[in-house]
């Protein structure tokens, strides 16, 4: 029975083995269809970033030739990249989708949220997000989170039950067995669903290349006015940067993630094509969050703490 050396060199996969992208695509589509089959009011969180764009692409494929049976929800921080908002509105119109917007700016204007001293709005998204979920009575909320992004996310389930406060309790998660997802929930509770759980950043980019998916231009190298803060290049703009001590310069940069302008850093890059971006990521020695997200650097358990409060 011991096959100590028999398998080496004979590892030719059968012609019926799926490529890793086909396997990931098939799994994600299965997850979308499970939610459509079991929930009443699902919604896709859509930021205009590459992960949510890939999610929408997968949803379009999963239900074709019928339309996607979900609406979209964008949590608008008020500090968005204009190219991303333009992309969002164009996509919604093109596919005849319904878009809900939860606005951080409206919460600040109404005095329900207070601007943070550091100007970062990412953590402020949690309240508008959870209130929008309650208000619209969404029972399944798709997020583009991937387990490779961060150590707390590595512990996340594909179906993640949240209580009426949207809280995540990592010690009370349901075991996830086979492909049998358990979406049972009480009224007021909802389930966060992560169809890209098993994808890595590189998988996402390769899939974008294979499927020829259009992205907002900020993902490709372009010249932009930026300034340095905490070791990252931030976009200069009306959101509050730069301060007097910070100097603006024009650099050739691109973005690896798309979030709030106040905490999403750009990387120096001359990658203007998909091929070049993929080559750059394959060679990178930094994770996408480590390279470009200020909010994750706040503490060792920053992501876990935010997720416990209802962040996605």
């Amino acid at each position: 029975m011991t096959t100590t050396s028999a398998t080496v060199g004979e590892g030719t996969d059968s012609p019926y083995a799926l490529s890793h992208l086909d396997a990931l695509e098939s799994e994600a589509v299965h997850i979308f269809r499970e939610v459509a089959g079991e929930f009443e009011r699902p919604v896709i969180l859509f930021s205009g970033g590459k992960d949510s764009i890939v999610m929408l692409h997968l949803a379009l494929k999963a239900f074709a030739p019928a339309p996607v049976p979900f609406s979209l929800l964008h949590v608008d921080t008020g500090h968005n990249f204009p190219e991303v908002l333009e992309y969002r509105d164009r996509t919604v119109a093109e596919h005849g989708l319904r878009l809900h917007v939860a606005s951080v700016q409206e919460y600040i204007d109404a005095g329900k949220l207070r601007e943070r001293p550091d100007g970062t709005r990412n953590p402020l998204q949690t309240v508008p997000l959870t209130e929008a979920i309650q208000q619209h009575r969404f029972d399944a909320v798709f997020g583009g989170g991937r387990r490779d992004e961060e150590k707390a996310r590595a512990k996340e389930r594909v179906f993640s039950l949240r209580d009426e406060f949207s809280a995540w309790d990592p010690r009370r998660q349901r075991p996830e067995l086979w492909q049998l997802y358990n979406g049972r929930h009480a009224p007021g509770e909802h389930v966060r669903v992560f169809p890209l759980s098993n994808w890595t950043e590189l998988d996402v980019w390769q899939y974008i290349a294979r499927e020829k998916i259009e992205l907002p231009g900020i993902y490709y190298a372009h010249e932009r006015e930026v300034f340095a803060r905490n070791g990252m290049w931030l976009t200069a703009g009306e959101w509050g940067g730069p301060k007097e001590s910070e100097t603006v310069e024009t650099r050739l940069i691109r973005y690896r993630t798309v979030g709030d302008m106040s905490c999403t850093g750009a990387v120096d890059s001359d990658a203007t094509t998909l091929e070049a971006v993929i080559a750059e990521i394959a060679a990178s020695r930094l994770t996408e969050r480590g390279a470009t997200r200020a909010d994750d650097k706040m503490s060792e358990a920053a992501m876990e703490d935010r997720k416990r409060e209802g962040y996605f």
């Binding site: 996969d13 098939s26 269809r33 074709a64």
Partner: protein, 447 residues
Amino acid sequence: MTTTTGTGLTEQLSATTLLRFATAGSVDDGKSTLVGRLLHDSKSILTDQLEAVEAASLKRGQEAPDLALLTDGLRAEREQGITIDVAYRYFATTRRRFILADTPGHVQYTRNMVTGASTAELAVVLVDARNGVVEQTRRHAAVAALLRVPHVVLAVNKMDLVEYAEPVFAAIAEEFTAYAASLGVPEITAIPISALAGDNVVEPSANMDWYGGPTVLEHLETVPVSHDLASCKARFPVQYVIRPQTAEHPDYRGYAGQIASGALRVGEAVTVLPSGRTSTISGIDALGEAVDIAWAPQSVTVTLADDLDISRGDLIAPSGSAPRTTQDVEATVCHVADQPLTVGQRVLLKHTTRTVKAIVKEIPSRLTLDDLSQHPDPGQLVANDIGRVKVRTAEPLALDAYRDSRRTGSFLLIDPADGTTLAAGMAGDSFAAEAVKTVADDEGWDF
């Protein structure tokens, strides 16, 4: 422009397959070190992650970076220095992508190993070369056998501490192989390693000339991942009915789902269960491409020649090899919840895309993993117990034996009151049933 690699890179990166595997090992067998080394030597740990681990280690007063901090992602895990929950890791070589279910080794977390093993095609069981096969090793082998993980690797670790002696390895490999084979593990590969020194993990060891087999990574890269389609009966659980009812597609009615096993072909005669109605496959849409044949685990949409009443939860199978349906489920279960499972309890049973009401009629036995002894009529199962159950369902299920299909032979028991997943079920016989075999009833069970 950094396009010197041209299109070659994309092709090379996408021409890989995916292997899901799980690791199991006792607390001090060096599992974190092995995982850390696989990630590190395959260059999957990036600079900022390593820096974060170094900083966190310093803060704890440790001089060397503690690689376990890479995998222990939760506050409580880092505070207590133990792994509480399954975590998933991702790494890649040029030949393959890997999804690693990193499962804790504590006895009380049998459910976590069951969770990790349920989707794994390979399990790595770690043994300390100084201790050999211990109770925990037998538990890990038993769980891998019960979940029918197709490939098991025995990694005999800490060979550096037994002077890289071949007889030590050979004795452990022989004992483990005999034990695992007796439980029905189909393929066992034993590899002598030192995760700490790096012997036979990624690079072949210069200290063990006597070993002619693959390193752990080589084996992971080359083990076959897909099964022979001809020997698997096709099973297609209907997930969702696609009916656009638009001007462009007024009459389109497609059955969407993921093929659970085997292959479907256009023109094939099929039976829909549980109704038993028959038709012919008129088309298969593989996410945008019309195809003549599709196979597991592809997500597809199937159209039939006849307009039948089919909904989510139905199962489409070739007419010649459709499963029987039953309302009496006999299975081995692993109990995964804190609240117990008791005789007489009303539960929900989720099988493929179908969830039905059910009642626990009997719990004939509970299994002790240490020595595989049976305890008759325990009355209830509690967290991490493995036992036999008999369940009566409110509606018929098209259930296969787990030994024939991990996908259509598995199910969940769910508490209808609060939605808790109570147990992971595997239909039909297993070694957990051997000691309490009852006379086969004649109501359709043939496994």
